[in-house]
Amino acid sequence: MTEDLTTIEVDQFYPHPPGKVWRALTEPELIAQWLMPGDFRLQVGHRYTMQSRPVAASGFSGLVEAEVLAFETEKLLRLGWRDAAGGDADWTITWTLQPEGHGTRLFLLHEGFDPDDPLQRQAHTIMNGGWRTGVPKALAKLLDRV
């Protein structure tokens, strides 16, 4: 777990060239196969919706209202994600592609988590109200150092 509770960073290497990874990130029929179906178009300002699985623990409905915020072909794709069903989610998803040998390292940066809210709600679910507010943060810090 990173120190910063407002972002998630994940990266993965694929033995495929950036051009191919880029297609999988930007062609709707390919996006549907690994993420979720939606009317994506590679155009800044384009808005579309996608249905994902809900995350009950944090109140995310799973219905995503997305917007293309920025892109640089085969290098970067930045999307805005909002909870279309009235949840609090207001995230920025940034994909960065970096050539590595004959393949590509793909970085995901998921920003915009409220450091208190979702964790607290999760904590309430976990602990059936038995814990006080400070515990999840303390736990996260403990986990960081173990």
């Binding site: 777990m1 998630i8 994940v10 993965q12 694929y14 495929h16 051009g19 191919k20 990874v21 297609r23 999988a24 390919l30 196969q33 690994w34 993420l35 699985r53 809900p54 995350v55 009950a56 623990a57 944090s58 793909l106 995901l108 998921h110 988590f113 964790l119 999760q122 976990i126 602990m127 038995g130 814990w131 515990v135 999840p136 303390a138 736990l139 996260a140 403990l142 986990l143 150092r145 173990v146």
Partner: protein
Amino acid sequence: MPPRPSVVAESIEDRVFAALSSPVRREVLRLLRDGGPQPAGVLAAHFAMARPSFSEHLRVLRDAGLVSERKEGRQRLYRLEPVPLAEVQEWLTPYERFWRERMAALGDVLDRMEDA
């Protein structure tokens, strides 16, 4: 992401979270993390409570798999077991798990695609 359905996993998680709900038990984990394996008596000395009460805390930590106990001479040596904590961490980061799953699925899509 649906919650993990396994009844077994649920009961282990329940035990881990219950064990972590006590400040005394969290402090014991900190002491073990910072000081390495220690005898129960040394751990107990940090707390102003009767020894049987402290032994009960150690039992809860043992049952949750958060610590293990080993006999060494006349002493019982306690050590931190990191695996349940790692599972808790995973529980606390459902979005990270979501993305790891999605990115694995992306790898499958790429493997199936024609090189163009």
